[in-house]
Amino acid sequence: MMLEVRNLGFHYPKQEKMIFSDVSFGIEKGEIISILGTNGAGKSTMLNCMANLYRPVLGDIFIEGRNMKEMRPKEIAKYIGYVPQIHNPAYAYSVLDFVVMGRTPYIGVLHTPRDEDYSVAEDALRCIGISHLIDKPYTEISGGERQMVTIARVLAQQPDVILLDEPTAHLDYGNQLRMTKLVRKLADSGYAVVLTTHMPDHVIMLQDKVGILDQQGHFTFGKTKDILSDTLLSNLYNVDLKLIYIDEAKRDTCISIME
């Protein structure tokens, strides 16, 4: 098991209400897990726990059997890469310099990137297909391109697990679909991918497994095919939703029944 979450529970310091509790699931290399939920349910919070940004209040997270609590940030970063929802740049580093920062876990505290690190970065950019951006200041590219560049940075980290926080949230319709394809490609390349989303269609497109987090903090986990249903989605979003199979797309799609 690449990454395993056991009995995870979290509440913010000084607050009593648990955002979620008793969450358990695991992911293997090549798998995709989508965490689906409404606004404010706590999806990002859960992802942040997995990224070692928050300390879980209850439960543990295991990376290849090792408890994350016993690992140093540098070690964790060699296993887990995190793509934030949005990145606000303060300084105009070039795309290459930005991507090579993904190599930080492998660079000594007092050292700077070596030629090998730059090669890995260039490979990552090539892998995603954005090598043409390599010398541009990363403040001068579009939001969608910046998202891709951040993913390239994560690839340069050479992790085993990639976490993405609502990767499609700030993208236009076309880019959303392209991003979803990229996530699929990443999983096919052998990464274990966990992403948060609130688009049921994307969950369906990505398949594998899904975890549903509702407002009460309950977490339902399982194979997407098994878990996703009209009732579940309608209850989750409090709107009438139906899953309808579309022949041309060879898959279900989530449709709202409105008057």
Binding site: I80, G81, P84, A90, Y93, T104, V109, L110, P137
Partner: protein
Amino acid sequence: MGSDSAGNLSGRNISNAKYRMIFIGLVVLAVGVFFASLAIGRYNIPFFDSVLILLAQIFPIEPTWTQTMEAVIFNLRLPRTIAAVLIGGGLALSGAAYQSMFKNPLVSPDLLGVSSGACVGASLAILYSMGPVVIQILAFIGGIVAVSITVAVPRLMHNSSTLMLVLSGVIVGGLMSSIMGIIKYVADADTALAEMVYWAMGSLSNVKMVDLYYIAPCILLSGFVLVLFRYRLNVLSLGEDEAKTLGVDVRKVRGIIIVCATLLTASAVCLAGTIGWVGLVIPHLGRMIVGPDNRKLLPVAVVLGAIFMVVIDITARSLTSAELPLSIITGLIGAPFYFYLLIRQRMSIT
């Protein structure tokens, strides 16, 4: 040089070859300015003589100059110039480090209250009629104490985010100002108060070589450590959370940066009083020339800061017969330049 869509004025990243040229050019300029500082001053020493006096340190040359001239160069101008180099470079370095660490190009080395604390320390020493040495020591201690308080507050609040640190700095700065107010009120208006105000405006006129023996190692060591952390500073400038996910021990690295920057600034202040604007503006200038990558920026900021400070000192002591306080000159140059930068930034947010 570009302003980007994020509205931040930052330099284009330049190639390594170009960088080398720029850096060497700046170092040459720095050396030139250094020697110019030894040769320029209100005590008239013919240029040729000043060259000979310096060469006489290495080669045996028969003195054609007066002993006073030699003493003016080595006892009056040399310590000041070395101090200016150390202070200018140190403040610029601290400023650049903080601007990366706090992900904000608008912060100065005094963010966490070191200058205000040093001011309190020095003023206390002046209030109790202590000599110049005690003033320096108390200034140094004052700066360290202020930053210690600033750093302790987030720990008490169990919130070690950058924002909490900045807020804490604001509070401590305000606290120091209030204490300064009390000290100034109690001080004798004719003697102590005037001395305090003059000290706070910054001057290198009382720097002696012996001061440098103690303070230079502190500045050089902390500066060196800070430069060693140049790459981690880049990563920190992405934001605390992202730096964490890239494996950086944010608390530890931040702690080291704060310690070094505080030592640098406290040393500078104890030598020369408070000098504003250098730590704020020079890193900006550096970024405009070589870009924000600290691997390139930090060395350039140090040299630019040194050049700037030496030129300021030459101006301060040579322009009029009464020596101009340093803060006034740095302010007259720094504030308009800063204004210009802010306008550039504003214009790019459309």
